[in-house]
């Protein structure tokens, strides 16, 4: 089976953070929880626009919301960054780098054998 491609939708954390304004929202939330009105203002966008981005970020688990009186406060949820963390390091990187070396090694081996036969 060929490698299964990552789903090309915003339900994927990689796609979610590929959008510059959504990354800006994450930066803003780094300082603490904010209501959507403040985020929209800080980003210079409409509230429905900011809400749309927040929905995507919530869907992939990067942002969580909690009710505070009449409004919702949005905050960072680092757990959603786990796939990014795994992709940038860890087990997969270990194996991808090992397979880089394997690729070079078997090509050398093939050449050596062809040369000596």
């Amino acid at each position: 089976m060929a490698g299964v491609a990552r789903a090309a939708t915003t339900s994927d954390v990689f796609n979610a953070i590929a959008e510059p304004q959504r990354r800006e929202i994450l930066v803003l939330l780094r300082a603490g929880e904010r209501p959507v009105t403040e985020l929209a203002q800080a980003l210079g966008m409409t509230q429905p626009g900011a809400s749309k981005h927040l929905r995507v970020l919530r869907e992939v688990g990067l942002v969580r919301a909690r009710k505070a009186g009449k409004q919702s406060l949005y905050g960072l949820d680092a757990g959603g960054l786990r796939p990014v963390h795994e992709w940038t390091g860890g087990f997969e990187r270990f194996w991808n780098e090992s397979f880089d070396r394997l690729d070079a090694y078997v090509q050398d081996l093939e050449q050596t054998r062809q040369g000596s036969s």
């Binding site: 490698g3 994450l26 786990r82 390091g89 991808n96 397979f99 070396r101 690729d103 090694y105 090509q107």
Partner: protein, 171 residues
């Protein structure tokens, strides 16, 4: 084969957050027999096992079902890691299944299944690793972060990634 030919389309991986499995797929530019052979002898394995800068010292190696490979992996920063592998299935030149842990008694040993498929003159390797629990999968991923050296642990994660985000936003 030019180096520029090696790139993103030739490798892929899936991360299914919340599941117990990690699948890594990769095309290697050599015949299936040769790629398979590189997994069967310690003189080969010691030449490529681990990321750039890692070396291994083997204590015992017996490539057969039920056989074991006991070795120490040396990281570029001087850290040593005890490693233990035992093969559970060997089907040349198609399939190898192995248990991977730190020692023979490691209760957290996990199983990887490697399949080798001819892809023209090249070989596609797929490594499917299934962890007994999601928690163990997370633990292993964390351990390999540490092995990679200088990687952030998950507890530092939001500061780390949002730090990158901030640099980009400001840069």
């Amino acid at each position: 084969m030019s180096a520029t030919e090696r790139g993103a389309p030739r490798r892929s991986a899936t991360e299914q957050s919340g599941t117990r499995e990690i699948v890594i797929s990769r095309v290697i530019s050599a015949s299936r027999e040769l790629v398979f052979e590189a997994f069967t002898e310690v003189r080969h394995l010691s030449q490529w096992w681990g990321p750039e800068g890692f070396t291994t010292t083997t204590r015992a190696f017996e490539f057969r079902v039920g056989g074991e490979w006991e070795f120490v992996m040396h990281g570029p920063d001087g850290t040593d890691y005890q490693e233990w592998i035992s093969w559970t299935e060997i089907t040349p030149p198609e399939r190898i299944a192995l248990l991977h842990g730190e020692t023979r008694d490691d209760p957290n040993a996990f199983e990887s299944i490697l399949t080798f498929a001819a892809d023209g003159a090249a070989t596609r390797i797929e490594m499917r690793t299934v962890f007994p629990t999601k928690e163990m999968r997370d633990e292993v991923v964390e351990k390999y972060h540490a092995i990679e050296g200088g990687q952030q642990t998950l507890s530092n994660l939001d500061a780390y990634v949002t730090g990158i985000v901030r640099e980009r936003a400001e840069g």
